[in-house]
Symmetry: C2
Subunit: 196 residues, 2 copies
DNA sequence: GCCTATATTCAACGCATGATGAATATCTCG
DNA sequence: CGAGATATTCATCATGCGTTGAATATAGGC
């Protein structure tokens, strides 16, 4: 049986972790419909659990959002890693590293992107951070005219890749392997790094 | 006076078009908070009007969304126009034309992008259309290996530009003129068009 | 084996929502 | 001027929301 009706603590043999079930369901629904359009009750229903559990575990709906947004990887560290390699081949390394580290968590990434675009701007500090690290990190590597603009546009390329691959799930962008993407998209990024 | 209390049709001298006031307010709020998070009442309040007017003019909330999404320009026509110029300088022309035709309507574009990412997939047929036209149109111009992937990635670049310029309002991307963007970002797009 | 902490459900709260229908004021056309 | 069409507000509806507090069942330490 998958349902466990009646109140009280479940028997240990039931083994189902309802807390993570809630986070998983919330991730799915938030990514699918957005934060505001997803009701706590819908998440609870999806998780096969009472809605009051959300208050119990996460305080309120926003707490559930925060739990949903917890990234399993530290984006800033990866970015710095890539930047340490220097200007040469930066484009390919950026594309390859990002897709490789994001692919296993594409639902989280999609949720992040969606709520970053939809919700209150400050509600997604993870994005603010990633943006700051990416843009200023890349900026430091660049020389020549329009360096500020070029660095920002590298971020635009990365955002475009993420949005089309994980959110819009555009054919071909969705299907290519990180290696293929690095090979095909990398030079276009490198064009901005080099400045023509 | 800006308020006009009491029921009944307003005197002609009041001149305020409440219908467009509603659409304007809705555009602003939908773009700012997203569709689901914006209440009909909030839109009406912002427009200085009773919420029932939404039902009267647009049927329901979704009708208001549709009215909000009405694009003042035909995107497909512009895309085809650009593509007619051939492969040479396609990147620059794409960037310049898109930013030039979108800039005057950036709030609509932002709203479109947001609800395209958040809402029901079929709720944004304009995007589906633009995508189809852009990707297959560009694809037809390309030769060489990975043509499918490269065409899709051009779309990714365009999406990235639009998202960072109109939604995230990323510094530098937000500030550059269409001409500067064409000059700086165009070559990166062209790199995909040419295939290295 | 009791006692407390924890997990879970249930019932209920007040509130905001989207929508409807009637009421009223003005416009337009004959 | 009179008749309908149109624009607008008001009062009201049922519904679903997020949250709370109490009730109940199990787990784990003494």
């Amino acid at each position: 049986m998958t349902t466990r009706p009646g109140r009280g603590r479940p028997k240990a043999s039931d083994g189902a972790d309802r807390r993570t079930a809630l986070v998983d369901a919330a991730r799915r629904l938030f990514a699918e419909r957005g934060f505001a359009a997803t009701s706590v009750r819908a998440v609870a229903r999806e998780a096969g659990v009472d809605a009051a559990l959300v208050s119990h575990y996460f305080g309120d709906k926003q707490g559930l959002l925060v739990a949903t947004m917890a990234l399993p990887v530290d984006p800033a560290a990866r970015i710095r890693e890539v930047l340490d390699g220097g200007r040469d081949g930066l484009g390919e390394r950026l594309v390859r590293t990002f897709t490789e580290t994001w692919d296993p968590h594409e639902d989280v990434i999609a949720a992040l992107l969606r709520t970053a675009m939809t919700g209150d701007p400050e509600q997604a500090p993870a994005l603010q951070l990633a943006r700051a690290v990416l843009v200023v990190g890349v900026r430091e590597q660049l020389q020549g005219p329009d360096a500020d603009g070029r660095a920002a546009l590298v971020a635009a390329q990365v955002v475009g890749l993420a949005v089309t691959r994980y959110v819009a799930r555009l054919p071909h962008v969705r299907d290519l392997t990180p290696g293929d993407l690095a090979r095909v998209y990398g030079p276009a990024v490198q064009a901005l790094v080099d400045g023509n």
